[in-house]
C-alpha cells in the first residue's frame, strides 16, 4: 500500500498519516464515522497555518476507541465552515491534528495503525476535492519522495521520506521545486537532516511550503500548474542555497496497481506495553470478628437435687445481640424462671389504682395454701352498667411437672 510506502523503519515505527477529505472520509474508511474532540495537548504554528494537536484517548498511540473533536477546531476567523461532528471508530488513533488556516485548514489528519488500514485505497484527496488515482514513489539513494498532483491544476503535495545525504555526501538542508531549471520554491531545513523532524525548523521563502514535521513531508501551498510535464524537485544541500543542486526529473504519474499480495508488515511494537505487576500470591483466611457463645444454662437444683433430670427447652435461645457470657447466663436463668411460673393467678381487687404492671404485689391465697409475691403481669379495668371489675393477673410458681 502506498500509504505505508516508507519501507524504512522510520515510517513503520510511526503511524502512517492519511490525509482525508472529510467529505470523502466515509468512503475511504467505512469505519470512520466522526471525529470527536479531546483537549488539545499543544499547539504549534508551522509556516502557513496553525496546527492543532489533539490527544487521543490518554494520549497513547494505538488506543482504540472513540475520540471527540470539537467542531470549533474546524473554524478559522473569517472563514467559518459549518462545524461538524465526526466519529472515528474501529481505528487506532494516535494523534489528530488539523492544519488550521491556509489551504488544508479543514483537512484533519488521522494517524492510524498501518495494520488497520486494509480498507484504504490508494487514493489521495486534494484540497480541491479531486482525488489522485495513484501515487508514485521516487526512491533515491538520498531517500525518496513522491509528488502528487492531479495533473493540470490544483495544489500539489510533495512527500519526501527519509532524505539522507545527497550525491556529494552533503546533508540535505532543504528542498526546492523547479519548473524546468528555475527554482520556484525553496525550503530549507535549519541545519538538520529531515530525519530530525522533531527539531527541524523551517526557514526560507517557503510561506508556500507547509512542513509536516511528523513524516518529513512538505506541502506546496499554492496552485501550480507547471509540473505537468517538467516539474522537478531538487535537494538543497547548503543553507542558504548557493550551491549546486541535484535534479530529479519529474516522472508523470502512472496508474498505480495494488499489489496482489498483502504487503508484509513489520509488527509495530507497542510503545506502551502493559505493565504486568508481579502480584504475590494470597491465601484466603478466615478470622472471627465476633466470638460466639453457646452456653448451657442449668438449674442444677431441679435437675440434680430434686432429681428431675434434664428438662431441656424445646428451642435454643439464639440472639446475636447478647453482650457477653454473663448476660447469656442471665438470659438462660430468666428463661428457666419464666417456665417455673406456670400458673396464671387472676384476682379481682378493690380499685387500688396505684398498682402498675411490674410492681411487686404480695397476696396470700389460703385456699391453695400459697402466698404469691410476684411482679404484676397485667391489670384489667372493666366497668359497665352491671359491674365494675378491677382484675390483677400474676404469674405464680406452679407445680413441678416432671
Amino acid at each position: 500500500m502506498p500509504v505505508m510506502e516508507g519501507s524504512s523503519a522510520n515510517t513503520l515505527t510511526k503511524n502512517v498519516r492519511i490525509r482525508l477529505n472529510l467529505l470523502e472520509m466515509k468512503s475511504l474508511l467505512p469505519q470512520m464515522i466522526n471525529l470527536i474532540h479531546n483537549n488539545p495537548s499543544s499547539t504549534e504554528t508551522p509556516p502557513g497555518g496553525k496546527v492543532l494537536y489533539f490527544s487521543a484517548l490518554k494520549n497513547e498511540p494505538g488506543t482504540t476507541g472513540t475520540i471527540k473533536l470539537n467542531p470549533s477546531y474546524f473554524r478559522t476567523e473569517g472563514n467559518d465552515p459549518t462545524p461538524e461532528y465526526r466519529t472515528i471508530s474501529s481505528v487506532n488513533i494516535g494523534q489528530i491534528w488539523i492544519q488550521d488556516g491556509g489551504l488544508y485548514q479543514y483537512y484533519p489528519y488521522l494517524y492510524v495503525d498501518p495494520t488497520k488500514l486494509q480498507y484504504v485505497s490508494e487514493k489521495y484527496v486534494y484540497a480541491n476535492g479531486n482525488m489522485a488515482t495513484s501515487t508514485m514513489p521516487f526512491p533515491r539513494k538520498r531517500g525518496f519522495f513522491y509528488f502528487l498532483t492531479n495533473g493540470t491544476s490544483g495544489k500539489p503535495t510533495i512527500r519526501i521520506k527519509h532524505i539522507g545525504v545527497d550525491a556529494s555526501g552533503k546533508n540535505c538542508t532543504g528542498i526546492a521545486f523547479y519548473a524546468n531549471t528555475t527554482p520556484i520554491f525553496k525550503a530549507w531545513l535549519d541545519g538538520y537532516s529531515v530525519d530530525d523532524y522533531k527539531t527541524a525548523a523551517y526557514t526560507g521563502n517557503g510561506q508556500n511550503f507547509l512542513l509536516d514535521d511528523f513524516n518529513n513531508q512538505w506541502f506546496l501551498n499554492q496552485n501550480y500548474n507547471a509540473f505537468s510535464s517538467d516539474g522537478k524537485i531538487g535537494f538543497l544541500n547548503q543553507y542558504p542555497d548557493t550551491a549546486a543542486l541535484d535534479f530529479y526529473t519529474w516522472i508523470p504519474l502512472t496508474p498505480y496497481t495494488a499489489p496482489t499480495q498483502k504487503p508484509i508488515v513489520t509488527p509495530v511494537p507497542d510503545p506502551f506495553p502493559p505493565t504486568v505487576d508481579a502480584e504475590p500470591e494470597y491465601l484466603e483466611q478466615r478470622k472471627a470478628l465476633q466470638a460466639g457463645i453457646n452456653l448451657k444454662v442449668v438449674d442444677t437444683f431441679h435437675r440434680d437435687t430434686m432429681g428431675n433430670g434434664e428438662l431441656r427447652g424445646k428451642e435454643n435461645i439464639i440472639n446475636n445481640n447478647v453482650k457477653d457470657e454473663d448476660t447469656a447466663f442471665r438470659i438462660g436463668q430468666i428463661a428457666i424462671q419464666k417456665t417455673k411460673r406456670n400458673l396464671d393467678i387472676n384476682v379481682l381487687a378493690p380499685p387500688m389504682f396505684q398498682l402498675e404492671p411490674g410492681k411487686y404485689l404480695s397476696m396470700p391465697i389460703s385456699a391453695k395454701n400459697m402466698t404469691v409475691f410476684e411482679p404484676i403481669d397485667s391489670l384489667k379495668f372493666e366497668i359497665s352498667a352491671d359491674k365494675s371489675d378491677y382484675g390483677i393477673t400474676l404469674k405464680g410458681i406452679g407445680k413441678d411437672n416432671s
Binding site: L311, S378, S384, A385
Partner: protein, 478 residues
C-alpha cells in the same frame, strides 16, 4: 361560666341546673378547653386530692346521682334528641362521673394521702382493711383527644352514653381498650356531627386534618381519697355495632411500634468500597454506603485492613462517610485484595430511640411529629448486628433487644396527655425486693381467686447461643 378567672372553689351550691343548662345550650357534650397535664402536678402518679373534698363535696354515689339527676332532667327536656330517646329503651348506667369537679375552678393538689388511700394495701402495712376499702368503687369518663386542635384539646363524651369500658394494661403488650357507647340517636355515627369524625379508626383524620385519640379516665374513690388512672392517646382500631357502638383499639405507641414500616436499615459493620473518582482515588480513600453513623460516644469505631486493626490511623468524615487511611504504610494505596472493614456499633438505647423517631417520621408528612418519650432502665451496651426495616415491625427489634438485656417493655401513662415506653430489666428471683410494693389482703379480694395452670412446661436446661461472625482476609504466600 368563666372557668379561667374563677379562682375560688366551687361549692355544691354553685352546681345548679342553670350552669348546666347554659353549658349545654349548644351541645349536650361538654367541651373542656384546658390541658389536663397542667393541673395534675407531677408526672409520677395521678393521685389527686382535693383539699375541699371533705368540706364541700361529698364524693358518694348519692351526690353524684344528684348531679346526674340534674343532667337527666335537662337531657329529657331538651328537644335535641329527646324524640329518639323517648321511643327507645335506654341503657341505664351510673358508671360515669361529672368531670365538672375536675376543672380548674377547683384547686386540686397532688398530695398523696397514703394513710387514707387503701391503707391496708400500702407497703409494709399490716393493718386490717377499713370499711372504705370494701366499699370502694370506681368510675369512668371518656374523652376524645384532638391534640392538634388549638382551642379544643379534649371533648368529653356524654357520660350517660358510656355503657361499658374496659382496659387491659400489662407487660410486653399494648394497652388495649374497648369503649361501648349508647348510639340510639346515631349521634356518634352521624357524619353531620363533628364528634363522629373524631371517632374514626386510626390516628390521623384526613377530614379534620388532625390527629384524634380516645382518653379513658378511671377514678377510684376510697373514702375521701381519689385517685385517677388515666389512659390517654388511645387509637381506635375497630368499630362495631350500631345502636350500641363499640370502639376498641390500642395505645398510640403500640400502634406505631406494631406498624409495618420502611426505612433504612441499621448497619454497624461494613466492608468499604474504594473511592473511584479523583482526587480521592488514591487507594487510601474508602466510602461507606450503608454504615449507620452514630455519635462516637464511646470511641469504639474500629477500622480493619486485612484484619489488621488500624487503631487511630484513619479519618472518618461523618458527613460524606469517606474514610481515609492515614498510616504511611498505606501511602501507596491498599491492595485490591485486602478487605477494609469498619465497625461502628450503635448502642441499644440509641437504637431504640432512633427507631421510635424514625417510625414517627415515616408517617405522612401531614401528621404532626409527636415523638413519644422512652425510658430505658437497663445498662446500655453495644450492638454489632444489622437490623432491617423493610416492611418490618419495629416492636420485633425492640423485643429482640429486650431479650438480650434481658428486659421487658411496658407502656406507662406519663400524664394526662402523654404515654411513654419503658424498658425495664427483668429480675431473677433472688433479686426480688424484700418487701412487695403493695399487699393485697385476701379479705379484700372480690370473688374467687382464679388459679389455673397455663400449660407451660417447666424446664431446667436451656442453651443460649450467639452466632460467631467470621470475616475473610488474605495472607501472602511466602
Amino acid at each position: 361560666m368563666d372557668w379561667n378567672s374563677d379562682n375560688s372553689p366551687i361549692t355544691q351550691s354553685k352546681l345548679t341546673s342553670n350552669h348546666l343548662a347554659s353549658e349545654l345550650d349548644e351541645s349536650p357534650y361538654i367541651e373542656s378547653e384546658y390541658e389536663f397535664s397542667s393541673f395534675y402536678g407531677g408526672t409520677e402518679g395521678q393521685k389527686i386530692t382535693s383539699k375541699y373534698t371533705n368540706n364541700h363535696l361529698e364524693w358518694n354515689k348519692d351526690n353524684i346521682n344528684k348531679v346526674i339527676g340534674e343532667y337527666h332532667k335537662f337531657y329529657f327536656d331538651t328537644k335535641l334528641i329527646g324524640a329518639v330517646y323517648e321511643d327507645l329503651p335506654r341503657v341505664q348506667n351510673d358508671i360515669g362521673f361529672i368531670p365538672r369537679n375536675w376543672s380548674k375552678a377547683i384547686p386540686i393538689t397532688a398530695t398523696y394521702g397514703k394513710e387514707l388511700y387503701f391503707p391496708s394495701m400500702q407497703k409494709g402495712s399490716l393493718d386490717e382493711p377499713i370499711l372504705d376499702e370494701y366499699l370502694a368503687e370506681f368510675y369512668v369518663c371518656v374523652y376524645v383527644q384532638t391534640p392538634d386542635n388549638k382551642t379544643t384539646k379534649e371533648t368529653l363524651i356524654n357520660y350517660q352514653d358510656v355503657i361499658a369500658v374496659s382496659v387491659d394494661w400489662g407487660k410486653n403488650k399494648p394497652i388495649s381498650f374497648s369503649v361501648t357507647l349508647c348510639n340510639f340517636s346515631r349521634y356518634y355515627t352521624n357524619p353531620a356531627n363533628s364528634i363522629s369524625q373524631k371517632l374514626k379508626k386510626g390516628i390521623y383524620s384526613a377530614e379534620l386534618g388532625q390527629r384524634h385519640f380516645l382518653k379513658i379516665v378511671f377514678m377510684a374513690k376510697c373514702g375521701s381519697e381519689i385517685y385517677y388512672r388515666i389512659f390517654p392517646r388511645l387509637v381506635i382500631k375497630q368499630i362495631e355495632g350500631t345502636t350500641e357502638v363499640t370502639y376498641s383499639g390500642v395505645d398510640e405507641i403500640s400502634e406505631y411500634l406494631f406498624r409495618n414500616v420502611n426505612f433504612k436499615s441499621y448497619c454497624a459493620e461494613e466492608c468499604l468500597a474504594r473511592v473511584a473518582t479523583a482526587p480521592l482515588n488514591t487507594g487510601r480513600h474508602f466510602i461507606a454506603n450503608s454504615l449507620t453513623i452514630t455519635e462516637a460516644r464511646y470511641g469504639i469505631t474500629k477500622v480493619f485492613v486485612n484484619a489488621l486493626d488500624q487503631e487511630n490511623n484513619y479519618k472518618l468524615d461523618k458527613n460524606t462517610k469517606i474514610l481515609e487511611l492515614t498510616d504511611t504504610k498505606w501511602s501507596q494505596g491498599v491492595s485490591d485484595k485486602f478487605p477494609v472493614l469498619i465497625q461502628n456499633p450503635y448502642t441499644a438505647q440509641w437504637l431504640i430511640n432512633d427507631i421510635a423517631k424514625k417510625v414517627i417520621d415515616s408517617q405522612n408528612t401531614k401528621v404532626a411529629r409527636d415523638y413519644f418519650p422512652i425510658k430505658c432502665k437497663f445498662t446500655d451496651f453495644n450492638l454489632y448486628t444489622e437490623f432491617n426495616f423493610q416492611d418490618a415491625e419495629p416492636i420485633k427489634t425492640i423485643e429482640e433487644i429486650c431479650q438480650a438485656v434481658p428486659a421487658y417493655w411496658v407502656i406507662i401513662p406519663l400524664d394526662a396527655d402523654r404515654l411513654s415506653l419503658e424498658i425495664r430489666p427483668m429480675l431473677l428471683e433472688e433479686e426480688y425486693p424484700e418487701n412487695a410494693d403493695f399487699f393485697l389482703p385476701e379479705s379484700l379480694t372480690r370473688g374467687d381467686i382464679d388459679v389455673s395452670d397455663n400449660d407451660v412446661d417447666r424446664i431446667n436446661t436451656v442453651n443460649v447461643v450467639k452466632l460467631i461472625k467470621v470475616a475473610t482476609y488474605y495472607e501472602e504466600v511466602v
